[in-house]
Symmetry: C2
Subunit: 104 residues, 2 copies
């Protein structure tokens, strides 16, 4: 995992409980974190494509600006559930979700 990504993560409140790999992440944990990053990047990308502010986007998915900011930052208080619900709320399809997860 790249340095930039790790900085982003520790900034977002991540400090793994696990035992393996870099920064103490087990491979399962690493996969989870990677997944989160991909989902949050996709969300930010979609919001920007829609040309909405976080506030406007939040309203459209019935959330709040602060939560959207945290989602986009992959904050550790944000669940994968919320990320996915938000993506679906923004109109993404299962197919696109699948591609979001595998792409790279």
């Amino acid at each position: 995992m790249e340095k930039e990504k790790l900085e982003r993560l520790s900034k977002a409140g991540w400090k793994a409980a696990g035992t393996e790999e870099f920064l103490g992440l087990s491979s399962a944990e690493a996969a989870l974190v990677e997944l989160r990053l991909r989902l949050s990047d996709k969300l930010k990308q979609r919001r920007r494509t829609m040309k909405l502010s976080q506030t406007a986007f939040a309203k459209s998915i019935r959330s709040s600006q602060s939560r959207v900011a945290k989602m986009e930052a992959s904050d550790s208080t944000v669940s994968i559930d919320l990320l996915i619900r938000s993506l679906f709320g923004s109109g993404i399809t299962l197919q696109e979700l699948s591609e979001t997860i595998s792409d790279r």
Copy 2:
């Protein structure tokens, strides 16, 4: 969405809050539910391939037999987070997760 699937869902405690489509599911809600079904099916399939009882599998992912049963049943008290964490815990890759979501 097929009848069988709907029965399975209402049995699992689902009764949508939404406004559109069958059983009152909005398309975003429907996508979420469909996602859950695919994840829980995959989980059950993996456990069976590993030839583990729910109890043994639960132990391996640090959960409980009852929760595993609920995961496999797509129970409404089970989060997507837990499903995905369990899949990663069972050794699935991001690629396989992606395929699980799009397949069908």
